[in-house]
Every structure is written in C-alpha cells, then in structure tokens.
Symmetry: D2
Subunit: 405 residues, 4 copies
Amino acid sequence: MATQSSRAFFVPEERRGRVADLYRRVRAHTEALAAPLSAEDQTIQSMPDASPTKWHRAHTTWFFETFVLKPFAPDYTPYDEAFGYLFNSYYEAVGPRHARPLRGLLSRPGIETIAAYRAHVDTAMERVLESCSDEVLERVILGAHHEQQHQELLLTDIKHALHANPTFPSYSSERVATLPRPVPPLEWQPVKGGIHSVGHTPSQDVLEFAFDNETPAHEVLLRDFAIADRPVSNGEFRAFIADGGYRRPELWLSEGWATVQAQLWEAPEYWHRRGEEWHVFTLHGLRRVRDDEPVCHVSFFEAAAYAEWANCRLPTEFEWEVAARQFGNLSRDVWEWTASPYSPYPGYRPLSGALGEYNGKFMINQMVLRGRSCATPQGHERLTYRNFFPPAARWQFSGFRLASP
Amino acid sequence: MATQSSRAFFVPEERRGRVADLYRRVRAHTEALAAPLSAEDQTIQSMPDASPTKWHRAHTTWFFETFVLKPFAPDYTPYDEAFGYLFNSYYEAVGPRHARPLRGLLSRPGIETIAAYRAHVDTAMERVLESCSDEVLERVILGAHHEQQHQELLLTDIKHALHANPTFPSYSSERVATLPRPVPPLEWQPVKGGIHSVGHTPSQDVLEFAFDNETPAHEVLLRDFAIADRPVSNGEFRAFIADGGYRRPELWLSEGWATVQAQLWEAPEYWHRRGEEWHVFTLHGLRRVRDDEPVCHVSFFEAAAYAEWANCRLPTEFEWEVAARQFGNLSRDVWEWTASPYSPYPGYRPLSGALGEYNGKFMINQMVLRGRSCATPQGHERLTYRNFFPPAARWQFSGFRLASP
Amino acid sequence: MATQSSRAFFVPEERRGRVADLYRRVRAHTEALAAPLSAEDQTIQSMPDASPTKWHRAHTTWFFETFVLKPFAPDYTPYDEAFGYLFNSYYEAVGPRHARPLRGLLSRPGIETIAAYRAHVDTAMERVLESCSDEVLERVILGAHHEQQHQELLLTDIKHALHANPTFPSYSSERVATLPRPVPPLEWQPVKGGIHSVGHTPSQDVLEFAFDNETPAHEVLLRDFAIADRPVSNGEFRAFIADGGYRRPELWLSEGWATVQAQLWEAPEYWHRRGEEWHVFTLHGLRRVRDDEPVCHVSFFEAAAYAEWANCRLPTEFEWEVAARQFGNLSRDVWEWTASPYSPYPGYRPLSGALGEYNGKFMINQMVLRGRSCATPQGHERLTYRNFFPPAARWQFSGFRLASP
Amino acid sequence: MATQSSRAFFVPEERRGRVADLYRRVRAHTEALAAPLSAEDQTIQSMPDASPTKWHRAHTTWFFETFVLKPFAPDYTPYDEAFGYLFNSYYEAVGPRHARPLRGLLSRPGIETIAAYRAHVDTAMERVLESCSDEVLERVILGAHHEQQHQELLLTDIKHALHANPTFPSYSSERVATLPRPVPPLEWQPVKGGIHSVGHTPSQDVLEFAFDNETPAHEVLLRDFAIADRPVSNGEFRAFIADGGYRRPELWLSEGWATVQAQLWEAPEYWHRRGEEWHVFTLHGLRRVRDDEPVCHVSFFEAAAYAEWANCRLPTEFEWEVAARQFGNLSRDVWEWTASPYSPYPGYRPLSGALGEYNGKFMINQMVLRGRSCATPQGHERLTYRNFFPPAARWQFSGFRLASP
C-alpha cells in the first residue's frame, strides 16, 4: 500500500469526494449481496474456513470502526463494545477475538442489529470523510478494498453453506455475476524470456491502491515460455476424469493424492453425478455441467495433476503477470492457480501496526492465484493482484491455465 | 405404551375430544416456547447432542405426519417430501436422514416455512381427530408426549446455544418455568426393604400413557435404606468444590476423572467465577449462584464424586421410585441422577415397527434420571418416568439426591 | 477380598507355605507365557487398550514391590526408582504414571532388565514369605490373582499386536490353552425364579480369595427363565451373518449400529474372508473357522444383536450365576457377555487405600462377562467372578449364550 | 541424477570398483549406526513422521532389491516376498505398502532376520557389481545416496524415540558425529547481486551424483545482500526466549503462532528447563545447553520469528548457495532453514518410472534447508543439496542463519 506517496498536487476536496464515493459504492454493494439472504441464511457457517454472511457484514464494518473511527474520530461512540471481540477476524495486535470456527454459533446480534451497526458506522464515516487527512483517506481506501475481498468471500461462503443443505437451495434466481462465455479452442501464446519487471508501481491515480504483498515492484529473470490463451474448460477436465485422473497416483503430488483418498474426491467441488450426467451446484441451484465453461472449484492439487496428465505445467505467478501485461488481463471467470508458493517479494515490508497483519503473516503453505473471478467485485482486480489459498482449498472460484514447456 | 388396553367403556367421542384437547395444548405450548426466539436463534446448533429450535418444531410435526397422517389419513398431502429426510431424528426403519451434527447448517426451511408446516399438519390432524380409531388416538397421545420431551430439550438446547455466545444473551426476561424455592435443612427418610412393585401399571384414565421403557411393572427386592428429603443444594456443592472435590481423583470414577481433566471441569456447567463470586448462566442471563437452590447441570460423574465425598451414595432408580410412592414425587426442579444404568425391565418388549426405536435401542452406556425438572412441561411427569443420559452429560437440568447406607 | 476373615485355626506356617507356592507358580507361569516372544514382540503396543508383554511382566512385579515390599520389607531396596513411574497402571493414589497409550514407546528397560527386575523382586518376596503377617499374605494372594488377570491380558494383547502385522505371525506353534471342543445341539435349561443368593461368601480355604466387586453376597429376586446349555457357536453365528445381521439396523442398539458403520464390522474380530471361506487369526496363525466352536471375539453389541435376531435375550449376570450354581460352571472357552451393566453390589465397599482403585472406579459404561476363557489361567476362575469390558470391546476371548424368555 | 552423462572415457572396471567401494562403505555405516541399539530400540516408532531403526535398515535394502536386483539380476531370489509390501516407503508405482504410522507395530521380522536380509541382498549385489552396465551403476549410486539419507533419519528418529522415554536414555556414550565447535562473534558477509548460476552441473567424477531436484542448473537474478558468517547460536536464541519471543504473536507467521499455542512451544525441541537452567536432550543423554553452539531442532516457524525479532530475514536458497560458492560450504552442524518454499527448478523433470517418485511429488508445503548437519554422513553433502521439511518440523538437526536486508 502506497502510504508514502504524496499527492499534494490533487485538490484535496476532489480526492475526498472520490474516496467518499468509493466508500458508499462498496458499502452499498455488500448490502445488495446480502439482500437475497434470510436471517437464517446469514447466520450459518458450514466450515471453519468460511464465515456467516452477517459476520462478513459486521467484520467489514468493524474494520472502519477500528482503524478509522476509533483513532481519528475523537467524538465517535462505538456501537457496542462487545463487537470489538466478536468481529475481529485475526488481528492479534487489536486484542482477543471470537474463535473462527464458532462464528456460526452467534445468533445475536441478529441481522437487524447488524444493519443498525452498519448504519451507525456509515453515519460516522460520512462525517469523517467531510474533512480528513490523507492518512485517513488511505485507510478508507484500504478498508474499501478489504470489504471488496469480503464481498467475494461472502459469495463463496454462502455457496458452500447452501450446498450443505440436502435440498440444494439457490442463493438467488437472478445472476449476480458475469455470465460465463463459450470457450474457444486453446491456443498457445509465446512469451520471450529475460529480465521483466513485476509487482505494483504506485500511480498518480487519486484512488491509487495495491495491497502490500504486491510490492515492491522488482525484476525477475524468466525463460522463454508459452501460455494458454484461456483456462482449462469443463470439457477438457472431464476428459481427465474419464481417463482415470482421480485414480492415478502418479499424476498427483503426494499430499494431493492423500487428500483425494481422504476426501473421496472424484470431480471438482460441487459436481454431482446424476446417472450418466455431471451436474453442478451453482448460486442459482443445480444444473448440468457445460463443457464450454472454465473448470471451477478445483484445488491446486487438481490443477497440478491435470497439468501433469496434459504433459504441461502451471505458469509461475510472474509468467502469468508478464503474459497478462502483454496480452491484457487473462482471466474473467475463475481465479487461476499458479505454480508459485505465496512468498514475500524481495524487500517486502508489511504495513506498520495492526494493519501489518493483513498479508505477510499468511506467507506459508499457500499458493498464489492470479486474475479474478465471476464473484470479484468490479474495480477490485489488478494485474499485480496476488490471491492466495492453501493447495487443498476448493470452495473459491478457482480454475487454472496451462504453460509450457 | 399401553397399546393393548381396551377402553370400550368410554364414550369414544369423549375420548377423541380429550385427546384433541391434549394435542392442541401441547402443540400451542411448543410455539409459545419458541416465540421469544429470533429466526437466527432458532437456527443455530451448539453441539451434536443439541438441536436447533426450529428443528425441534419441525421434527415433532414430522412425527405426526409420519406415524399418523401418512398411514391413517388417505387423502393427506405431505407438505414437502424433503422434510421426511430433513426431520427424521433416528428412526432407521423410516429411511435415511440428515446427519445430526449438521442440523445447524439448515438455513432453509426458514422459520416461516416451519410455521406453515406446523399449521398444515395441525389442520390435517384436526380432520383425523374428528373421527378415528383407538389405535390412532394412542399414537396421538404418544406424539404429544414425544413433543413434550422435545419441549424440554428445546429449552436445554437453546440454553446451551445462547451460552456459546460470549455476550451471554437471555432467552427471555420472563421466567418460563417454576421458580426454584429455598432449600430446608436435609433430613433422612427411612424406607423399609423387601419386595416392592415398580414400573408402570396401566390405569383406566382416558389419556392413560407411559413409555414402553417403564413397563412391564414388576417386583424388585430392596434392602432397608434412607433417602434424603431433598436434592443436594448449591451451597452444599460449593463446599465440595472448596474441599478440592474437582482435584481429588480418589473421589471419582476413572472415566469421570478423565473427563474432569480433559474438559477442565471445576464447577457445574454454566458456572463462572467472577472474582470471589460464583455466577451462573440461566435462561434469563447471568446471575449469582444462590446457595439455597438445588445444584443443577452436573453430570452423573459429579453426582457420584459428591456422594463419595459425602460418604453416601446415590439411590437406585427403584429405591427412588419406592420412596417417591411413599412420600410423594420427590423432585420439582432438577432431574435426579440415580445409581442405575439404563436397562430393560424383565420382560420388556419395545413397540412394534418404527415406533419401537423410541427407547430400547438406547439402553447402553446411559444412566437413569428420575423425577422432573423446572423445564418439564406440566402433565408430562410420572413417578415411573425413566429419563436417561450418558454419565458425562451436563446440559440437562440435572441434579441428584443422596441415599444411605 | 476377604480381609476380615480370621484364620487363626490354621497353622500359620502351612498357610505361608501354600501362599508361597501360589506365588511361585503364578510368577513362573507369566514367564512361560512370555517365553515364545522375542524382544521385539514384547515391546510393541497395537492400541491404547492393550499393553506390551514386557509391560505386563514389569507391572505385575511393580504390584508386589509397591504393595508388599515397600510397606512391609523395611530393608528392601527398589530395583529402579523410575519403575514406579513407568509401571504404575492406573493407581492415582500411588502417584503419577506413564501414559497408557505410550507404553509401546518404551524400548528401555529391555527384556533382560525386566527379567532381572522380576528376579530381584522374587528374591525379596521369598524373604518376606518366610515370616510375615496375615495381612501380607492377603496382599500376596491379591497380587497373584492380579498377575493371573494380566496373564490373560498378555495373551489377548499379543494376539492383537501380532494381528496388526500383515504377515499374521504365530504366537506359538504349540497350543497354550485348552483345545476347543465340538459343540452339541443347543438345549434349554429351565431355572426357577424366586429369591436367590448371589455373590461371594468367604470360605475357610487357606487360599480363600475373591475380588471386592464380588461382594457382599446378597439376595436377588429372579423370574423363571431358561438358559442355553452352551454358548452360541461359529456355525450359528455364520447364519446370522448370512441373514444380513451386520446390515440390519433394527437388530442393533443405536450405539452398536454406529460402531458397526464406523468400524466397518462385518464379522467377529480376527475373521477374514478368503474367497468363499471364513478364516480366523489365532495365536497359532490363520486357519479356517470351525463351525462347532463357540463364537469368540464378539462385542456386547454383536451378542445383543444376535440375541435380538434369534428372538431371545442375554441372561443377566445373576441368572448366569444361579444357573451355574445349579448346573456347574457353564463356560470353558469364552467369557460370556451378560445383559448386566457393571455396577456395585448393594453395600459394596472397595478395599481401603490405593488397592481400592482396583475395581470400583471402573463401574460405569461397562458390561459384565461371566465364566472364563481358554486363556484364563488355571485356578483363577470362580462362579462369582465378574469380568467387565466396554460394550464395543472385541479383543478379549468373548462370546455369549442365550436366555429366554 | 545425471543419467544422461556418458562416461565412456572411464575404464569401466575402475568405475565398478569405485561404486562397489561406495556401496560397501555405505552399507557398513548403516550397520555401525544401528549397532548401539537393542532389538527393542530398533522396533519402536514415536510418531508417524519417524520410522523404526530396523525399518530403515530393511527399507534401504528393499531399495536395492527392488530397483537393482529384481530388474537386473535375472537369477535373484527375493529374500521374502512379503518384504516388498512391508518395506516400501511411498512408491505408489511399485504397489501397495504398509501404512507409515503403523511401522512401529512390526515386531516381525526381528533384527536378526533384518540382518540376514541385508546380508542376502549384499551378497547378490556383490555379484551384480562384478559386471554390470552403467545404468545399473547409476542406480547403485542413487541407492547409496538414498541410504545415506536414511542414515541421518535413523539418527533423528531414534533421538525422537528415546526422548519419548521418561528416563531419557542415551543412544550411545560415544560421540557419533562431529563435535560442535565454539561460535565466534557474528559477522556479515556482503554478496553482490546480479545474474548467478545455481543448481547442479554434472561433473566428470566417476561417482558423480546429484538428486533430480537439484537440476537443471539455471540462472537466477539476485539483489545485493549480506549473509551472516555463522548460524544463530543457542546464546542468541536464549535472548529471543528471554525477550518473550514465544509469547509475542506479532513476530510469528499466523500458522506458526497457532502451532506455538497448540503445541505449547516455549523453546526448541528437546530443551528442558531445570530450575533456572536450560538442559537439552542429546544422543548422549541430557546435558546443559551450551551458549556457543548453533541453535538446533527449531522449526521454520521459529527461525522466521527469530529473524523478525532480529529485524533481519532468512536467506533464500539461492542466496545461500551463491554465498556458499563464494565463501565455502557455510554449514557443518545444522541444516539451515531458508526462506524458499520447495519448488521445482525451471525445466525440472523427475526420473522416469517409480524412481521419479523420489523428490518431485513432495514439492508442496515444504521449505528448503541447505547445508548439512552433524548427523549427515561424510560424502553426502553438496553445495547444491536441497533438503526439505514442513515448516513445523523440529526433529531434524535444523537451525538457521540470518540475511539482510
């Protein structure tokens, strides 16, 4: 995050106005995403890695309360002191917090109280945004991007929760995200090796932003390679399944194979065989698998096994980024697993204080995903964006693309 | 259950009317118990042994649908075929069912649908009750007692769920159950040994009922003994704690001591130390422990350890029953652990068919509790009633009384 | 244990001689049982409930060291102070102890040191037995019976451990226990109900002994019943399997059915299907199942399911004992599960001090077995003997017999 | 492994002789390492990640039997067909295998049979080595390096197993490995950035060898950095402990902090506080911690937390390798955790067939360690050697060194 950049040449009022717009737009979008969900829907938690909808709504609000209002709005009265405990996610420096696997046990506060909490904080934030320092604006921008991340999680988490219901209920009968498009025949795009620059370089944009883990920009040495012009499709992945992909240990990483056996995987998450047909559970209910869509809800282990089967490999995150700079953002529908473990960039320093717990402390046992997905809010994506999840995670909208050699 | 008894001497209309009254009264009471709870409250499940409020509401309804309407109301249309799967508790003979530990993941059906389901079944039941056989009436009576059991569980389960919330919310600001009363000094009541009759003998009452596990009535041989005239109080139990009761392995059964260490028990469930004071979480929130109330929410292990410490013992279930016949029902506030493992009476036969899964199949690794508690619905108790829970269970309203020698 | 009995009419020397003989015979038998086992065999532990052979050898020695030599032999020098920690089984009053599931991690002391430890204690015991009080003799008798119990466990535990080896090695090519005999057609033996006396009454025998849990003798009220004249055979049990016994939940206790599913039971422990044939792992290796032998290595759950399937029931422990008094000891080859949970007899008091931890503290969640097995040492059985194990245990030599009605 | 290198210019006899020498030397060293251990010591397994000594002895033998004798010695008779199942470690392509966590349950074959198995294979190997192809020699060299890896594991695993014994027995009273030396004051060594070559380039040495994961050699782009001239010492690490290092979440990776709390870590593995003093369990028993030795038996998490505390970082594996080329092998006593996740080098291809399961399939959720340790057999180390373990592993001889900036 570009905390150091001075933007004195901006008219401050213009910047405040643009940030306030961003704030309002993001906050309203969260509420729009939660709107189709009942009080019961918003309460349940189907696994420790996922959180209830109402928790996402409260936690993103807690973020502004904790990092903007408490330090910078002297007359701010917290909505409820207990919320600091209930809705802290993982910030050790901010104090103790409610255990993550128990979030689904919080029937109170109910969704009406959560709505009131959001309104209370929004009102206070409006006052702050009328006149505040650049440091505050930076934090508001960070908070907006943080909330956008939770918007995507809200969708992945409710999808997982509704899928736990044997009646397979729909999140919504309307589509909330870009429709998947047909997939053309795969073509290989060659990329020249050599020294390339990767990572985020701050711009002069008034809403300029990147997470700390995208910095500092630096140079990497790549070899010549080719990258597929689109992600692997459902149709292609079905061929892998049909060829015994889930039953051939030689294709898998050792830990991946152990996971296949322990979890009884035989297809991507949310796929169900109905007689001869594969169906897939979506936010709009169960429907047939379409061969022309990118395969989605696969783990890194499945991506790597497929690549082995196809006698290819996954691109590294830097290959992905360099290709994306060259050909335009590669991804629209699914996050794409890369071959890169999630590590700090050379010279990386996290933000100072509690905000520094945002990214760096997760840099172990996770793999980088690049691109964006159908559930990523508009305006949240970046070529340098580094998403990351453990290699066995499947509940995100995650697919992959091939590279060679 | 006295299925064999003929009551031809009753005017059938009178009996139908009485049973219909019972049905309506019980059904309404369930709704009254759920009324203080929000949609969120009714959805959560805090442990595998407990169920969500809305599940209790639906399951008791499913019972009438499955065992009365489907077999005896030819034109009955099930409300939703999926509910047979979702709301079956443990009846193997009725088909597969939703796994118990996952009940808290069912956001749908929501509480409004549950209310509609109950109304749908009630309407159909009213038509059945207008003209039906004695066999049907027996099943309605059984269903009513089944629902009363779930009324008590609804309260014990929501208490456990609300306690999982660090803000300790109240179920209700009004008292829903009999107020505990002051406890007089303990006195010993002598009972003569010899051959005594125990268990349920069917009466001529039009609403005659007992669970199959209370039958057949039979004779047992007892020795002379004395039984305390009231359960052990909080004040007495605090003396046990103060004397190191939770730290002295010689007082405990081996498995009890292992549980103390694994669960870090140092007081009854729901007790919290605040400085020098013990507080207790109740359905009406956190308040100070009153020494004059019966100790509650203790396991069999704690009851047995206390008895060892007091150089006494727990009464057997037959001693309890014989004493209760002699002195009147011994218990009002807490179920009382006895020294008796839950076993079949000599000559016991369960009900035939799926209804036979009610009691007998749980006759292992459980201890019998006798009496009733503050959460037991009026009209549900009986001198011969056999409640049963595993020896480590603490979330029921369970206390105990001493016997000697 | 008959601590109260006075035997002043015995010539003390005669009694000491007889007890010393018992001591030597029992000690030698343990070594004979261990003799066929290598150092490696004696070290492994295949589950928390089982113990390594060398641990049995050491623990039984520790018992005499702790309860006889330390209190009664003033000049006794312990072999190794650390052994008090390593070889205490569960006596809380004697101090901390090595965790049971970790016994298989003790490579040291090795079997030669164990042998030296045994010799060291035996030497000291001989000196004690030359002149000692009646109290000491009582303890020696108790220690001998304790060691006999461990002799049977040594065999059941090594059987389990060797079975964990995919090569199915034999304990010994020689038979160590009574050969099973052919099973005649089942006949029912009627027994008159009424008041019967059960439990142990001390005799005037110089080696008089019973465990505390067999006392006090007392009266029980039984109904008329009939009991099978032999245990259920392998052939009969195979009919249960063939009739889908392991796939029919209505035959099982609820917890039993859960165990069947979790453990994938489909036959008794140690049975292996080889094509169309059932084979069974024995202490002498794998061989075909003989239909005429009593079924063995079944849990209480399987016994109860079989009885349900056969439209019979298991006898209570008192029915078993009364029948055994009438017809002679019923059992030779397998311990027999009864319908009785393991509870204290009326008026039961455990031995005082650490020795009181022997039996009473296990009186929960266990079922009583009566009789004896092919692995029970000669002279260890009694009509009043109460063996006990959790209802899911199968590694003991456990079978069952039917009762009716 | 340099399978592609042609060494036609060698006199084949000379090469065979050298390889045979290597084979004999390595095989003899394994036996020397096992010699101080009793049959019992060699049998136990203290955790799933560790293996019994006798399993190491057998598995390394199985490797030659499977990959050399069976394919290349037509008249070879396997010692025991069951050993293919018992002593396969993780080679899926070779068939099913005995589960890793159960290796400690194998009392049979005993150590004498293992010795006979080794002799049987050695005899057959000698015959093969008299006249064999270059392909076979390559496999023998691989097998020798494989056995050397297990020699180190044999020591780390028996150390862990002996430590599980509360009496803390010694492996040996003689020192088996290089003595630790005093640690001089730390100095920083600057290294110039730019493009550097890393990884293994095959040499013309007759015993030329590297694991496939060290290839292909390739170029990397580094920045200027400085690296400590020695690993962090016990004295320095004690300052970290004294400064609350194990109690300050801000120093730790999130998963590391969770591990600290779950495992109750408060010092390196094998450290024990005795009053005011830290002691450490070694292969020669318990002794005081010496401040001047490198800290050992720390996880990656602890290394990373220390680096954070010291305001430094860990070097990447490439920084480590470039520095080692410049200054000589950096490490003698402890493997050194690097900041690099274990990933394939660009263009990496595993060996073909079952031998390809050696390295590549573990390239997930592990961190690279460089250097060697006091337990590494002589001749086994290389500048390009990549050791790897999960970030929580502590039972290896693992330390670390700092880098900056």
